[in-house]
C-alpha cells in the first residue's frame, strides 16, 4: 500500500471558527496543515453593483448590511464620502454625537467578539455575560434610533435626530453597569491560566510580514506599531478628546484579544469625556430633496477606524443621482484572505478556529 499521508479536508461553512459562512480547504498531513485555500463567497450579494441602481439616500439602508455586527462605521464612511463629494459641512454638535454613537458601537462589537472567542475556547460563562451586556447597549440604540441592529442614523450633513430627554443619564448608567463587571471578566476569562495556555504563541505574526500583507487594526497593533486612523487622520470629534491606543509587542492571539479588552475600556472613558464636552446646536444641515439630488462629478477616498481595523471607501460620481462606482476596502479582506492562508501553514489542526477568530474577521465584510 502506498502511504499517502496528505489528506484534503473541507472545513465547511457551518463552524464556530468564523462569524458568518466561510470555508477553507485544508491539506493536512497527520495533524499539521500543509496548505490552506480560503473559499469565500457564501455571502456575496454584489453590493457594489446594487448600489448603482439606487439613489444616494436610498443606499443608506442597503449599505449598513455589509458589516452585520457593527453597521455604524459603514454608515459613517458612506456619509463622509458623500459629504466630501458634495461639499457639505457638518455642525459641531453632530460631530460629537457621531463620535459617541461610533464608540458605543465599538463597545458592542467588542463584546460580540468576546462572546465569539470565549465560546470558541469553551469559557461559556464569560460568553453569556458578554452577550447580555451587548444587549444592554442595543437597548440604548433602540431608544435612540428605533432599531436594535440596523440603525440608519447618520445622514449626509449630520445625524437624523437629537438625543431624547434623559438619554445622557441612561448612557452613563449602562456604561457603569458594564464597566463595573470588568473585574469579573478578568477573573473568569482574561486572566485565566487556561486561556493563556491556549492562546499564547498561537498565530504569531511579526511586524514586517504584517506590513507586507496589508494588516490593519488589532492585527497590526499587536505587532508593536501604533496605527489608528482616529489619531492618524482624525474625523468627527476625535481630535478634541484625549485617548490612548493600546499596543502590544508579541503578535499572537493572546495579545490581540487583550487589545480588544483594553480598547473597550478606552472607549468607555472616551464616551464619558465626550458627553461632558458636547456643545449645543442643531444636528443636521439639510440636504436637498433626495429624489432629485445630483452630486457633482468627482471621486473621493475616505477612511475611518471601525472596530476591526481601517475601513476605506472609494467613491466615484458621474454627476447623476446615483453613484457610478463604489468600492469598499474592508479590514477583513486582508486579514481573512492572505494573512489567514499564511498563518494556517504549519499550524495544528485543532488551532484553526482559534486562529480564525483571533484575527477578528467577519465573513460578510470579505464577500460584500
Amino acid at each position: 500500500m502506498i502511504e499517502e499521508r496528505e489528506l484534503e479536508l473541507f472545513y465547511g461553512p457551518q463552524h464556530l471558527g468564523m462569524v458568518g459562512n466561510f470555508s477553507i480547504t485544508l491539506k493536512v498531513e497527520g495533524d499539521t496543515i500543509v496548505e490552506a485555500i480560503a473559499n469565500p463567497g457564501y455571502l456575496h450579494r454584489g453590493f457594489e453593483k446594487l448600489m448603482e441602481y439606487r439613489n444616494w439616500i436610498q443606499n443608506f439602508p442597503l449599505v449598513c448590511r455589509i458589516n452585520v455586527i457593527e453597521p455604524d462605521s459603514i454608515e459613517m464612511i458612506y456619509a463622509m464620502g458623500v459629504e466630501k463629494l458634495a461639499g457639505i459641512e457638518v455642525p459641531e454638535r453632530a460631530n460629537y454625537i457621531r463620535s459617541i454613537y461610533l464608540e458605543l458601537a465599538r463597545v458592542g462589537s467588542h463584546l460580540f467578539g468576546a462572546w465569539a472567542y470565549a465560546n470558541m475556547l469553551g469559557f461559556d460563562t464569560a460568553a453569556q455575560w458578554a452577550m447580555y451586556h451587548r444587549d444592554l447597549i442595543l437597548d440604548l440604540f433602540e431608544e435612540l434610533t428605533g432599531g436594535r441592529v440596523y440603525h440608519i442614523y447618520i445622514n449626509p450633513g449630520g445625524v437624523r435626530r437629537d438625543f431624547p430627554k434623559g438619554f445622557k443619564d441612561k448612557i452613563v448608567k449602562t456604561l457603569h453597569a458594564i464597566g463595573g463587571c470588568i473585574p469579573d471578566y478578568d477573573a473568569t476569562f482574561f486572566n485565566n491560566a487556561l486561556f493563556y495556555k491556549r492562546a499564547n504563541g498561537i498565530g504569531k505574526i511579526n511586524l514586517e510580514t504584517a506590513k507586507k500583507l496589508g494588516a490593519v487594526g488589532q492585527v497590526l497593533r499587536a505587532t508593536g506599531m501604533e496605527y489608528d486612523i482616529r489619531k492618524v487622520e482624525p474625523y468627527a470629534a476625535y481630535d478634541k478628546v484625549d485617548f490612548n491606543v493600546p499596543t502590544r509587542e508579541d503578535g499572537d492571539a493572546y495579545s490581540r484579544i487583550w487589545i480588544v479588552r483594553d480598547e473597550m475600556i478606552e472607549s468607555v472613558h472616551m464616551i464619558f469625556k465626550l458627553l461632558d464636552m458636547m456643545p449645543e446646536g442643531d444636528v443636521w444641515n439639510r440636504t436637498p430633496n433626495p429624489l432629485k439630488w445630483r452630486i457633482p462629478e468627482g471621486e473621493a477616498y475616505v477612511r475611518v477606524e471601525s472596530s476591526r481595523g481601517e475601513l476605506g471607501l472609494y467613491l466615484v460620481s458621474n454627476g447623476e443621482d446615483k453613484p457610478y462606482r463604489v468600492h469598499f476596502r474592508t479590514p477583513s479582506y486582508t486579514h481573512g484572505l492572505p494573512i489567514l492562508e499564511k498563518l494556517l501553514k504549519g499550524a495544528n489542526i485543532s488551532d484553526v478556529g482559534n486562529i480564525m477568530i483571533s484575527l477578528y474577521v467577519i465573513a460578510p465584510e470579505i464577500d460584500r
Binding site: N21, R45, G46, L50, L62, P364
Partner: protein
C-alpha cells in the same frame, strides 16, 4: 403544563416529544448571525422552550434559515436538509427567504426559498427580534399539533419537482437523488 395537555401526552406521546424539544441546526446563513446568539444566551433564553443549537444536522429536527441564501449556501443547505432525520421542520427567517427581501435584484441570491426546499413557516422582520423568534416557535407547536407542518412528507412525494428546480439554479448536482425519481408518483 396545564391539565388539557395531559390527555394529549397520552394520545400522541411522540408528537408532544417532538414539539417540546426542537433541536436546531446551528447554521447562521446571512444576517441572522446577530439575532441568534441573543436568543440562545442568558437574556432571552430559548432553552426553556426546548430549543438548543446542536453542531451536526444528524441530531437536529428544526432548521432555521436565518436570512438571505446565496447560490453557494443553497448547496450546503440542501445537503444539510437531506442529512436531517424525519420528522423535520424548516422555518424561514426574515424577509429575504420569502421573496428576496432587500436583495431582490441581486444576481447571486435566491428569491422564494420554498421552491427549493419545503418551508413550514415564516418569521417576518429584518432581523426579527428574539421575542418574535420565540413566538414563531410556539406557532410551530400549534402547527405540529394540527398536523399541518408536513413539509418533510411533501418533500418525499414531490421530490422530482424539487430536484428539477434545484438543478435549474445549481447545474448538475453531484449527489445522488435522495428518493427514487421515477416511481415517486406511484409509491404512496
Amino acid at each position: 403544563m396545564d391539565r388539557n395537555q395531559i390527555k394529549k401526552w397520552f394520545k400522541f406521546p411522540a408528537q408532544m416529544g417532538h414539539k417540546y424539544s426542537l433541536w436546531v441546526t446551528y447554521f447562521c446563513t446571512g444576517c441572522g448571525i446577530i439575532e441568534i446568539p441573543p436568543t440562545i444566551t442568558a437574556r432571552w433564553d430559548a432553552e426553556r422552550f426546548g430549543v438548543i443549537p446542536v453542531a451536526t444536522p444528524r441530531h437536529a429536527n428544526l432548521f432555521l434559515i436565518t436570512g438571505y441564501v446565496s447560490v453557494k449556501t443553497l448547496k450546503a443547505i440542501i445537503k444539510s436538509y437531506e442529512m436531517m432525520p424525519d420528522p423535520k421542520y424548516v422555518v424561514g427567517f426574515g424577509s429575504c427567504p420569502i421573496n428576496g427581501g432587500m436583495y431582490w435584484d441581486s444576481y447571486n441570491t435566491i428569491k422564494h426559498l420554498d421552491r427549493y426546499i419545503p418551508v413550514d413557516g415564516w418569521i417576518a422582520g429584518c432581523m426579527p427580534r428574539p421575542e418574535a423568534i420565540i413566538i414563531g416557535v410556539t406557532h410551530l407547536w400549534t402547527l405540529i399539533d394540527k398536523g399541518m407542518a408536513s413539509g418533510y412528507k411533501k418533500y418525499r412525494e414531490k421530490y422530482k419537482y424539487y430536484r428539477e428546480n434545484q438543478e435549474k439554479v445549481l447545474g448538475k448536482l453531484e449527489w445522488q437523488p435522495l428518493f427514487p425519481l421515477k416511481e415517486s408518483e406511484e409509491v404512496k
